[in-house]
C-alpha cells in the first residue's frame, strides 16, 4: 500500500490526513507534493509517460531504502501518469518518523531518487510546440549527497 502509480487524480489533503492516522510513536510527518506549473501561462498541457511494472518496482525499492535508512514508521509515494493541466497534482510523498530531522531527510531522499531513478518522462505543450522535458544536471547531482 506504500506505492501507488495511477492515472486518476488523488486528494492530497485526504491522503495526507489518512497517512498520519494511527501511527504509533510518530512525532513528525513531512509531505511533499508536486504540482504542474503554468510557467506564467507558457505551459498548457503536460503528459507523463511511464514504464508499467518497472515504475512500481523502482518506487518500491526507493521507498524501502528510505524506510531502512531513516528508521521511518511509514512512507507513502503516489505518482500519476497521463495528461495533466497546470495546477494539477502530479505526485506526493509522505514520511513519518519519531523526530523531524529523519522525516525531512527521508522525504528529500525519496524525491531525489524518484526524480532521476523512477521511469517517468514528462512531455510539455507550449506555444512553440510539444517536447519532452530534459533532465536537469542538478537533479542527477542531488543524488550524490546521499
Amino acid at each position: 500500500m506504500g506505492v501507488r502509480v495511477q492515472a486518476e487524480p488523488f486528494d492530497f489533503g485526504a491522503e495526507a490526513a489518512a497517512f498520519g492516522r494511527g501511527l504509533p510513536d510518530v512525532g513528525a510527518i513531512v509531505t511533499f507534493s508536486g504540482i504542474v506549473r503554468a510557467d506564467g501561462g507558457a505551459m498548457s498541457e503536460m503528459v507523463i509517460e511511464h514504464y508499467p511494472g518497472m515504475t512500481e518496482r523502482a518506487l518500491g525499492a526507493i521507498r524501502a531504502e528510505a524506510i531502512a535508512r531513516f528508521g521511518l514508521a511509514e512512507a507513502l509515494v503516489i505518482h500519476r501518469f497521463g495528461p495533466m493541466r497546470p495546477g494539477d497534482q502530479i505526485m506526493m510523498v509522505a514520511t513519518a518518523a519519531r523526530h523531524r530531522a529523519d522525516a525531512f531527510a527521508a522525504a528529500e531522499f525519496l524525491m531525489d531518487y524518484l526524480k532521476s531513478r523512477a521511469p517517468f518522462w514528462k512531455k510539455e505543450t507550449r506555444p512553440d510546440g510539444t517536447d519532452w522535458v530534459a533532465a536537469r544536471d542538478e537533479d542527477e547531482a542531488a543524488l550524490r549527497r546521499w
Binding site: 511511464h50 518497472m54 524518484l114 518522462w121
Partner: protein
C-alpha cells in the same frame, strides 16, 4: 540466438515509431544489441545516435551499456528520467 522483448519510451519510442518489438539476437551485451538495432533502419539509427542520452533497464532494473544480456528477457531503452 534468443528472443528478447525490446521496449522504448518517450522520444526513443517516438523516433522508432513503436513502443515494443520482439528481437532475435545473439548480442552478448547491451552495446552489441544497440549496434544490431541501429543497423536495422534509419529510425533505429536516429534513436540511438546519441548514446549519452540513452538509459537502459534489463528486466526492469537500471543497468549500463556494458551489462551482459545472458538470461535477460526484457530490455528497455529510454531517455534520462524526469518524474516528480
Amino acid at each position: 540466438m534468443t528472443t528478447i522483448e525490446v521496449l522504448y519510451f518517450a522520444w526513443l519510442r517516438e523516433r522508432i515509431g513503436a513502443g515494443r518489438e520482439r528481437i532475435e539476437t545473439a548480442a552478448p551485451d547491451v552495446r552489441a544489441l544497440v549496434a544490431q538495432l541501429s543497423a536495422m533502419d534509419d529510425r533505429h539509427a536516429a534513436a540511438f545516435a546519441d548514446l549519452a542520452a540513452v538509459r537502459v533497464a534489463l528486466d526492469q532494473d537500471l543497468a549500463d551499456l556494458d551489462a551482459p544480456l545472458a538470461g535477460v528477457r526484457e530490455v528497455a531503452f529510454f531517455p534520462p528520467m524526469t518524474g516528480g
